[in-house]
């Protein structure tokens, strides 16, 4: 749900960047989604907005716009080969993420101490479900080229996940985290550049964000299981003061917490970086004063 909320936040932000129309939030989001959608969906959103413009009663207009927004958000558009491929990649990596989490719970019994782990695991599954929901919709928005570029740009995050796990959260780890978002920003710039397509760049950034978030998680957690991270003096000191008895479970639990943080933070950072980068290369629309 957090990813879905972040997605909605991004859409609203794009709407605000485009300029509020004074017609209400639902209508602004609809107009933004119109820019981001494929041609077939664009026609339907245009139809909804034209109907909205024909209504007079403000209350009826608001209710109508809310219903239309719900219809657009909940009904995925027509699928194509790129959408199927993107869904395949995201579903596979998401399944890998869930598999790794379950492996951790089985292999390190210390992680299952108390009852809090079940709530944390349910929260993790909710995040993964939100990723899948967002991917199902994003994979059908915008042009295939934008979606492909974004999803591919998220893949190098796997390398950064390995690097972050190796660095045990030091300065290099933070630098690696920033590097996760760089390919997403570049992909958004490339997509935005030829025809000043800010909407398509946003799709590239969002696809990159989803793919980067999952790749960084899987890579980080797999590296943690393989190496347990180098036990630095600081880590050993923290372990001594934690009161825990099993270093391996404690270290893995700590890293899994970090991995879930990455799962939440990377999409937000990657989307923001992509949108800012696209904005930088997209020339602002010229405005002419009314005569």
């Amino acid at each position: 749900m957090i990813v879905a909320a972040a997605l909605l936040l991004v859409v609203v932000t794009v709407g605000i960047v485009r300029g509020r129309s004074g017609d209400g939030l639902a209508t602004d989001v609809l107009r933004t989604l119109q820019d981001l959608s494929s041609a077939a969906r664009q026609e339907w959103i245009t139809a909804m907005l034209a109907e909205y413009d024909a209504l007079d009663d403000p209350r009826t207009k608001r209710r109508f716009a809310r219903g239309c927004l719900r219809a657009v958000v909940l009904r995925a558009g027509p699928s194509d080969r790129t959408a199927v491929a993107i869904r395949g990649v995201i579903d596979l990596v998401a399944a890998g993420a869930v598999g790794l989490a379950i492996f951790g719970l089985v292999h390190y019994p210390g992680l299952r101490a108390g009852w809090a782990w079940s709530i944390e695991f349910a929260g993790f599954l909710a995040i993964i479900a939100a990723y899948l929901f967002a991917a199902a919709h994003l994979s059908r928005l915008g042009s295939p080229a934008a979606r492909r570029a974004g999803t591919l740009a998220g893949a190098p995050a796997a390398l950064c996940g390995w690097w972050i796990a190796q660095s045990n959260g030091g300065t290099i780890g933070f630098a690696a985290m920033l590097l996760v978002v760089l390919p997403c920003a570049i992909a958004a710039m490339i997509v935005a550049r030829p025809q000043a397509q800010a909407g398509q760049a946003a799709i590239a950034a969002l696809c990159g964000a989803l793919s980067a978030g999952l790749f960084v998680f899987v890579s980080y957690v797999a590296t943690t299981y393989a190496t347990l991270g180098p036990p630095t003096a600081q880590l050993l000191d923290e372990f001594t003061h934690s009161g825990a008895h099993d270093y391996r479970s404690w270290a893995v639990g700590d890293d899994l917490g970090g991995a879930v943080f990455l799962l939440l933070a990377v999409p937000v950072l990657a989307t923001a970086a992509g949108l800012v980068a696209a904005r930088l290369v997209t020339p602002r629309a010229q405005t002419f004063p009314a005569p």
């Binding site: 339907w44 139809a47 909804m48 109907e51 024909a54 209710r63 109508f64 809310r66 219903g67 909940l74």
Partner: protein, 102 residues
């Protein structure tokens, strides 16, 4: 027709409303008021019906000044046939039930 269309009371209401206009174009809000559906339910249904060729959509040719053209809908011949088949089947079932009760 390609894919089949699930017969729901909402789908029937929309199809009957379009059939009642006897070939004239209807706009979205007109259908909303006639069927009592909400926009969140009506538009996905219109999209599905159009995808399956049961209704056709077109843009208003001469919109009033200062307003964008509206999307208009009407039944296709396939849509009319589909509605006729569904209503005939329903009438047949009702007749059987009535005879069974007698």
């Amino acid at each position: 027709m390609g894919r089949s269309v699930r017969v729901t009371s909402s789908t029937l209401r929309v199809m009957k409303s379009l059939a009642a206009s006897s070939g004239a174009w209807c706009h979205g809000y007109e259908l909303l008021t006639e069927t009592g559906l909400k926009s969140g339910s009506l538009y996905p249904m219109l999209m599905r019906l159009a995808e399956r060729g049961l209704l056709e959509a077109a843009w208003e040719c001469y919109p009033p000044a200062g307003r964008p053209p509206r999307h208009l809908y009407r039944l296709t011949s396939q849509g009319g046939q589909w509605l006729y088949d569904v209503q005939s089947a329903q009438a047949g079932r009702a007749g059987l039930q009535l005879r069974g009760a007698q």
